[in-house]
Every structure is written in structure tokens, then in C-alpha cells.
Amino acid sequence: MTVSVTTSGSGMSAQRVSRIKAVGGLLRHPAIAFGVMISAAWLVVVLTVHWWAPYDPYESVGERLRSPNGDHWFGTDALGRDVFTRVLYGARQSLPISVAVIACALLIGGLLGAVAGYFGKRVDTVVMRLVDVTMAFPPILLAMAVAAALGPGLRNGFIAMVVVWWPIYARLLRAQVMAMKHKEHVEAAVSIGATRSRILRRHVLPLSFTGVMVNATVDLGQVVLLTASLSFLGLGALPPAPEWGAMITEGAKNFYQWWIALAPGLAMVTVVLGINFLGDGLRDVLDVKVASK
């Protein structure tokens, strides 16, 4: 009671208060809380690792192929680099690029899908046939082929993954826009003569947002895995970049020096698990809402 009085006194709108309460409620879901915690921890690593990482990720800093010890918690690799440091820096390779893949796919695919869904007819046919054909390939094969065609490197891997991922959002946004188009408030806007693009921007897109964000979260984990897979196959990040997938390749080459592959693997597991927990939790919570309607 007192809380709400003070907050409204400090000029916070009721809407904002309820939004904060909603976020607090989400965090009470254990899977979501766990996911947010892990994601936040990795975000901190990405932003600050250069201040506190024990060694330089590119320099040989000790004996080659040393097993884990007090100086090198996860040992050293074949070039004598500190594995722990490289794994921490690896977050800077995998995570931003995965987020960027989702963002670009969302932008390109979402826009195409929304346009297709809203205008229908021929636009819809063209876009959706393109979606069908792209989605007719197993994702990794398509990504491999595109990455191979463009030549190895993280930038080309990025393009390959956007090529693979955009149709998913095109489908999603199209379905949502088509469903939304017939909702009452949109029909009301049409009846008072709002222009199509204005309706799309002001009324349709904002409502599709939650569902899309949940999907994007679920997908993010998959993209992190795909990024690493491409690098593992030598089609993503190139040595000496400390990328997790590429580091696991090095680990596979030094099979009996298990620590080289252990650390990047653990890093990926925590990241992907965290994201999946978050996505799963959000899906659960959202499902409950849908069911109670």
C-alpha cells in the first residue's frame, strides 16, 4: 500500500508501475530468473572482460598443452595460450554475432512477412514462395553452402545465418499480422480512414511484439549453436580468433588434452541453457495467459 502511494507520489505512471510489477512477476518464475541471471552474467563478461581477464587471448603465456592448474584454470592450448582467457573473450565473438543474426533476420524477415500478411495477394505469394524454398533446406546445409560459397570468415558466416533464419520470422510475422488484421481495433482504424502503412506501424506491429520476442529468445540459443557449428566446421571464425566452435575443433585435434574443448563447451552450455530456460519460461508464462483467455 505504502509503496504504491510513494511511487505515484514520485510521478510514476500507473502503467509503468504495473509494468514493473509484471517484470517482477516474471522473475518469480524460476526458469526465467535462472535464465536472466545467466544471460546477465555473460553480458557482463562481454562488456568488461578486457579489464579483468587474466591473460592476453592471442599471446602464448605459458607452456604448451598444460593441464589445468593454479595459473591456468582450464590449462593451455597447443600454442601455449590460456584457455580460460580465450573462452571469456570467445563470448565477444559468439554472443554479439548471434544477437545480430536474430536482429537482422527479424528486421528483414519480419518486414517481408508483415508486408506479405498485410497486403496479401501477389506480394504474399512471392514472399511466401521464397520462404518455402529457403525453408526447404536443412538449416546447417544451407548455411554451410552459403558460407562456403562466400568464403570462410565470421562476416560471411553471419550472412549465411541471416539467409537461413529470415524465413522463420517472415512466417511468424505474416501469421500474426493476418490474425491481427481482423481484430476490431484495426478494423476500426480502417473504418476511420487511416492509411495502410500507418495502420501497420501503429496498430498491427506493436501487438505482434511479445510473441515475436519470445520466439527470438528461443531462437537465440539455436543461433549460438549454429555459429559455433559453422566455426567448428571451419566456415565461421578463423584462427587465431578465440571462437568457441573453433576452439572445440582445436580440442578435437588434441583429443587427449580434454581441457581444451572442455572450457568452450561449458561456456556454450551455460549460455544456451540460460537462453533456453528464459525462452521456455517465457513460453510457459505466455501459454498460461493464452489458456486463461
Binding site: D132, A136, P138, M144, A149, I248, A252
Partner: protein, 337 residues
């Protein structure tokens, strides 16, 4: 039912055409001179070979004409010669497809059965610790990169504990069984060689389990959710009111109906499996399409890349189609319209 199947079949040619075209475009994007890829570097000095290749693939003509040449060769079942292996790509693939299928089918069985059991287990213990544990187990499986899980499994179970044999489809210096199906396990049995069967099975289980675990998560999640939905449905109450045993209610009504939506994801998972096979085969030195694809991309072996893309697309297409048809068979509502 007929109309439904026809509708599904009607888009197949379109998708096939799309797959073929995209595979062509991708292979033409490769910066390397396709001619080099086709005839091999050494033959580049031989003008006769080059001229022959050029006219066969229409490389001296415009891109649309090249496309036409590509299509007509494709219709004749000619996908070119692998730059790397110097064999016809079609025969290369034919050799490797059974290996990948054997792996994928086994993984599908492990993942599918495991996923359904896990989902059922979870649903019946909703929100209890056992439910949470089962869900976390499934989620971990789909959060792990298969190439890392494979590596870890090999290191622990083969190198350290020695419970499983090492990578590869066969022990070294053992000949494969006479080919019937191309599945070593089945062929060994058909040949009456039980000890070879066990050897092949032991080598199959580890990669298949790694792959199966990766798809278990999505299956068990869906089984759990749809079982929970069905458990609260009116007809389940009716079944209980009839005096059926709880087990009969679960199996005859809840699970039966809950598995319907699961069918869709099983088809989809099969395609995911083939994808995962690319990574698993690399780790387990499995001589299948996946490791062939990896070698092809590393060597810019463009006829091989093209063929693998085609193969992937067709498998994807077929498994989606099979899913739709299975669904139609399982759901009386679809079956009768």
C-alpha cells in the same frame, strides 16, 4: 483425404524446382572458377578436356543456358564429378546415404522413444521434482552442441572408461557385411554374422544417442504439454467415468490423442537429425553424407556441395510430406475429408 493428399503433393514439384534452382545459384556463387572444380586443376592445361566440359555444362554460354544444361544433366541423373574424390557425385552420395540414414534412424528411435517416455513421465508428475529433473535433462540435451557432446562422450566412454568402441562405423581391418540395405547392423544380421552385428551396433549407439538426446527436448516438451492438455479434456473425464483403469485412460485416451501433434514434430526432427548428422559424423568419423558435405565445403568441391544441398532439400521435403500424410492417417477428422 484424397483432396488433402493431392493438395500436399501439388506443391512438391514447385518446391523441388525451387530446391534445384537455389542449389544452382549457391554453387554459382562460389568464387572459384567452376571449370576448375569440374575438370580438376591438372586437366586445366588440356584444351580438349576443357572444351568438352564447357560444352557439357554450357559454361561457354550465358547463365540461363548454363542453368538449362544443369537441369537437363540433372534429369539424366548426372550431377557431375566430384573435384575431390574424382568420382561421380551421384555414386559418391549413393555410397554414403545408407550410413547417414542408419545413424539418423537409430537416433530418431532413441530420441523419439526417449522423448515420449520422458514427456509422459513429466506430465504425470507435473510440477513435482521428478518433472523438473526430466525437463532439465531434456533441455540440457537440446542446449548442447552435438559436436561437443560427441567429443565428450568419446573421451569419457571410449578413451577413459573403454565401455564403447572408438569412432568409425567398423573396427579397423574388418570388412563391411555384403550390402543389402546399406545399414551395417541389418546387413550383418542378414549375413548371419551376429558378432559383426554387435560390433556395428556398439559403434552406432554412441553417435545415435548423442544425436537422439539433442532432439529429445523438443519432443518431450510437446508430449508433456499436449498430455497435460488432454488430461483435462472432457473425454478423459468420460473415460474415467466409465470406470476404466487409470492406465487404460492414459494409454488409450490421453497418450493416443497427445501423440497426434507429436507426429508433426517427429517429422521435423528427422530433418533436424540429418542436419545434426553433419556435425556428429565429423566427430565420429562416420563416412556418411554429413562428413562428405563438410569435406566438400572445405575443398570448394562445387558439384558435391550442389548435390548435398539437393539431397538435403529432398530429404527435408520427403520427411515433411511423410509427416503430413501420417498426420492425415492418424487423425480421423482429416482422414475423412
Amino acid at each position: 483425404m484424397k483432396r488433402y493428399i493431392l493438395a500436399r503433393l501439388a506443391i512438391v514439384p514447385f518446391l523441388l524446382f525451387g530446391i534445384v534452382t537455389v542449389a544452382f545459384i549457391i554453387s554459382r556463387l562460389i568464387p572459384a572458377d567452376p571449370l576448375t572444380s569440374i575438370v580438376g586443376e591438372r586437366a586445366m592445361g588440356n584444351p580438349e578436356v576443357i572444351a568438352a566440359a564447357k560444352s557439357k555444362w554450357g559454361l561457354d554460354k550465358s547463365v540461363p543456358e548454363q542453368y538449362w544444361a544443369y537441369l537437363s544433366n540433372l534429369v539424366r541423373g548426372d550431377l557431375g564429378t566430384s573435384f575431390r574424390t574424382k568420382n561421380s557425385v551421384v555414386s559418391d552420395l549413393a555410397e554414403r546415404i545408407p550410413a547417414t540414414l542408419e545413424l539418423a534412424v537409430t537416433a530418431m528411435i532413441i530420441g523419439g522413444v526417449g522423448g515420449v517416455l520422458l514427456g509422459k513421465f513429466s506430465a504425470r508428475r507435473k510440477d513435482r521434482p521428478a518433472d523438473h529433473a526430466a525437463r532439465v535433462f531434456a533441455l540440457v540435451g537440446s542446449s548442447l552442441p552435438v559436436f561437443w557432446t560427441g567429443l565428450a562422450a568419446l573421451f569419457l566412454l571410449y578413451a577413459r572408461l573403454g565401455v564403447f568402441p572408438g569412432p568409425g562405423r567398423l573396427p579397423s581391418r574388418v570388412d563391411p557385411p555384403p550390402q543389402v540395405t546399406g545399414f551395417y547392423t541389418i546387413d550383418a544380421l542378414l549375413d548371419g554374422d551376429v558378432s559383426l552385428f554387435w560390433q556395428c551396433l556398439a559403434r552406432l549407439i554412441l553417435p545415435a544417442a548423442v544425436l537422439g538426446w539433442a532432439i529429445m527436448g523438443s519432443i518431450s516438451r510437446l508430449v508433456r504439454a499436449s498430455m497435460l492438455d488432454e488430461m483435462h479434456s472432457d473425454y478423459v473425464r468420460t473415460a474415467r467415468a466409465k470406470g476404466l483403469r487409470e492406465r487404460a485412460v492414459m494409454r488409450g485416451h490421453v497418450l493416443r490423442n497427445a501423440l497426434l501433434p507429436v507426429l508433426t514434430i517427429v517429422g521435423f526432427s528427422f530433418a533436424t537429425l540429418l542436419t545434426g548428422a553433419v556435425l556428429t559424423e565429423t566427430i565420429f568419423e562416420w563416412n556418411g553424407v554429413g562428413s562428405y558435405a563438410v569435406a566438400a565445403t572445405r575443398n570448394l568441391d562445387y558439384p558435391a556441395i550442389n548435390a548435398v544441398c539437393l539431397f538435403g532439400g529432398v530429404v527435408f521435403l520427403l520427411s515433411n510430406l511423410a509427416t503430413d500424410l501420417l498426420y492425415a492417417l492418424a487423425d480421423p477428422k482429416v482422414r475423412l475429408t
